[in-house]
Structures are given as structure tokens and as C-alpha cells.
Amino acid sequence: MRLTVDGVEHELARPGLATLLHVLREELAVTGPKAGCQQGSCGACTVLVDGAPRRSCLLPAAALDGAEVATVEGLGAAEHLSPLQAAFLEHHGFQCGFCTPGFLVAAHALLERSPAPSRREIEAALGGHTCRCTGYLGIVEAVEAAAEAGGAAR
């Protein structure tokens, strides 16, 4: 099967029932998505599948033949942060950083479909993501600032 991850096309041997998260981290060494709860409750593994945020720990990779996957690693680079990543940095939108890839990907998807979201929309879009450091206020403020600064543009 074929899978495009952050713009790079891969040919995969039969993945059986392995999750997309397993394939990304263990086979393709794309370690941005984190293996948190691995039961769909925390959001640390969220990636974009054909543009929509999905929990990669809940997705059988075999269901995704031909799909385009975007992870946090495709949103920007250390030398060229996206407006959203820059806003997370400026507004202290992370502490330990474990949940950050999922929050960034989910917030990116939100800003792509709703460039000027209300606080309620932001809370709804990120409501299934857990930050064990409880840095939620900084995260929400970062998304609001990113929207003002140009949305999700990579």
C-alpha cells in the first residue's frame, strides 16, 4: 500500500491491523505523533488524514491506502515556524511538550476550516486533547494569536 507522510510517499508492506501510529513511529521513524493513552482519549497522536484531524492510535493503517498524512513535523521547521507554532512559543502553549504535537495538528486543522474561530470553537476543537501540565489557557491564547497573525499558513 501507498501512504504519503508529510509530502513523502512511502510503499508499505502489508501492515495487517497495525495502527497508523505504529507505522509512523516504528516503521517510518516519524516520531512527532506521540503514543500516549493509545485508546483515543488523550489526543497526543493526532495527525491529519487527507486534511482531517484523526487519532492515529485508533486508525488501522491498512484502511488508508493512498491517503495523505500530515504530522506536526510537516507543519513547520525549527528555522521556519508556522504562525501557529510561533504563537505556541510566544504564549507558552506548552510545558513538557508531550501533548503539543496533537494540539498543534488539531489547531492547524481548526484554523484551516475556520480562520477566525471564537474561543468556544477553539475549546470545542481541542476539547478532546489532554495536557497533563494543565497549560490550557496558554494553548487557547496561542491559537487565538495565530488566527490574528495569519491562521494556519505553513
Binding site: 495487517g16 491491523l17 495502527t19 483515543g40 484531524p53 485508533l58 486508525l59 491498512a62 484502511a63 476539547g127
Partner: protein, 259 residues
């Protein structure tokens, strides 16, 4: 057997899905995956064969000729703006990312988890008098959801339908706060031409109708014939004390004609 070694079937049509399912004894059906994938990752399920339903053409909501028909692989998110009380239950299930992936079929067919209730959509569909079309060893059949819930293990759910008629509905639930709220107990009610149906999710592994309350319309009859079960979310004792209050709210909404 490692997950990578499981034989995976990806049917491209409902007919191919029915053929691949066969008698259902040797194949794990994966629709959205939100319930079974954690079981697989934790090693609690180890099938030899699995069938992924995502490309089988079973994701649709059709309203025609006085009937609403919903395909088994329809995402829960597609039900959020539909008929009550199904829509309210759908909106409160997990979070948006999970609702976009979780399916109607999984909600009705996946084995109940030992730790928490699943099947938030079951009670609303019971009060909508839903019918289930499924396939299995003895071919295809359509039966009431209540019958199907008792024997879904060896059946492939194809779609669910209910009459597209006016109803007065109510829904009340209690949730345990988490990153996503878990439903401890939920009551759905619907009245159609004076006939009341009431059902609850969270009292037992599968949703159940509360027939005594359907007859009397009195929340005091909540526990007639009902023995609420314990799990990691709440005890049966706690659920028994929540049930009359939730019934009162749901029945009040029916009386007011509100959703």
C-alpha cells in the same frame, strides 16, 4: 499472532462485505476502529482475519419514502444534526475527532467493554423503533434493534432504519468528566401518536427499554425489572439513584414537545 500478521480484507461494496463476512465466525469487523483498535493494541483481541468496512459503501444517511436509513459505516459526526434524540446523544459522544471516525455500526455491534459502558446511540435508536438489516450465515434479514442487540455477534450490520414521522422526544444523561466525557447513564424517550418509548444506556452491557415507565409514565417505576450494573465509572447503587432524576428530565422534555 502479531497485528501485522492479521489477514485484512477491504471490501469495495456491500456485496463484497457480505461475502467476506460469511458466517462471521472467523472474522473481526472493524468499522471506525475506535472501540476495537484499543483492544487490539492492548492484546485483548487477536483475530486471524479482519474486515475493514471503510470502503464498502456503507456510509450514508438517506431520507426517502417516509423512512430514514443510516448505513453501518456512517460516522457518528454525520448524525449530530439529525433526528432527536439520536442527535443529542451523538453530539455528546467523545470529541469531534473521535466522532468523525466512530461509526453507527461499531456503536451497536462492538462488545461492551468491561470497564465502561459503550453504545450511546442504542437507547435513542430503541425509542425511534429502529430496525436493523444484517447479514449472516442464514442470509439477510431485518429485525427490531432490540432483537438484534441480543444476538449481534455473528451478524454483519448493513444499515439501520426508522420511520420518518413526528415525535416528541427527550434525552437526559450524566457524564463522568474526562478529556472526553464518558456516559455513566443516559435516558432517551420518544412519543409517537400517544405511544411512549423509553430506554436507557448504562444500566446493562446493552441499552434496555424501561417498559414499566413506558406504561405508567412515572419515574418512580424506574427500577421495576431493572438491576443496574457496576463498572469502573459508577456503581449500580449510584446508577439506581440517578435513574429517576434523568427519567424525570427526559419525560418533561417529551411533555413539553422539546428535543
Amino acid at each position: 499472532m502479531a497485528l501485522a500478521d492479521v489477514e485484512v480484507l477491504v471490501p469495495g461494496s456491500p456485496e463484497e462485505a457480505v461475502s467476506a463476512f460469511g458466517d462471521g465466525r472467523d472474522v473481526l469487523v472493524v468499522a471506525g476502529g475506535t472501540i476495537v483498535m484499543p483492544e487490539l493494541s492492548a492484546g485483548r483481541l487477536r483475530p486471524r482475519r479482519a474486515m475493514l468496512l471503510g470502503r464498502a459503501g456503507l456510509a450514508f444517511v438517506v431520507r426517502s419514502d417516509g423512512t430514514v436509513t443510516i448505513g453501518a459505516a456512517t460516522p457518528v459526526a454525520a448524525l449530530e444534526d439529525g433526528d432527536e434524540p439520536l442527535a443529542t446523544a451523538a453530539r455528546h459522544l467523545a470529541d469531534g475527532e473521535v466522532r468523525a471516525q466512530a461509526t453507527l455500526g461499531g456503536n451497536l455491534c462492538a462488545p461492551p467493554w468491561p470497564e465502561t459502558p459503550t453504545g450511546d446511540l442504542q437507547a435513542p435508536l430503541l425509542v425511534l423503533e429502529a430496525r436493523v438489516r444484517s447479514a449472516g450465515a442464514d442470509g439477510e434479514r431485518t429485525e427490531p434493534l432490540e432483537t438484534f442487540l441480543g444476538q449481534s455477534r455473528d451478524r454483519l450490520l448493513l444499515d439501520v432504519s426508522y420511520d420518518d414521522v413526528p415525535r416528541r422526544t427527550g434525552y437526559a444523561a450524566s457524564w463522568r468528566p474526562h478529556a472526553v466525557h464518558r456516559t455513566i447513564l443516559a435516558v432517551a424517550a420518544a412519543e409517537r401518536e400517544g405511544e411512549l418509548r423509553v430506554a436507557a444506556t448504562g444500566l446493562a452491557p446493552r441499552a434496555v427499554r424501561l417498559r414499566a415507565v413506558e406504561q405508567s409514565r412515572d419515574p418512580a417505576d424506574a427500577l421495576v425489572g431493572v438491576d443496574p450494573s457496576d463498572d469502573a465509572l459508577a456503581s449500580g447503587w449510584y446508577r439506581a439513584r440517578q435513574l429517576p432524576g434523568l427519567l424525570e428530565q427526559a419525560l418533561a422534555a417529551v411533555a413539553e414537545g422539546a428535543a
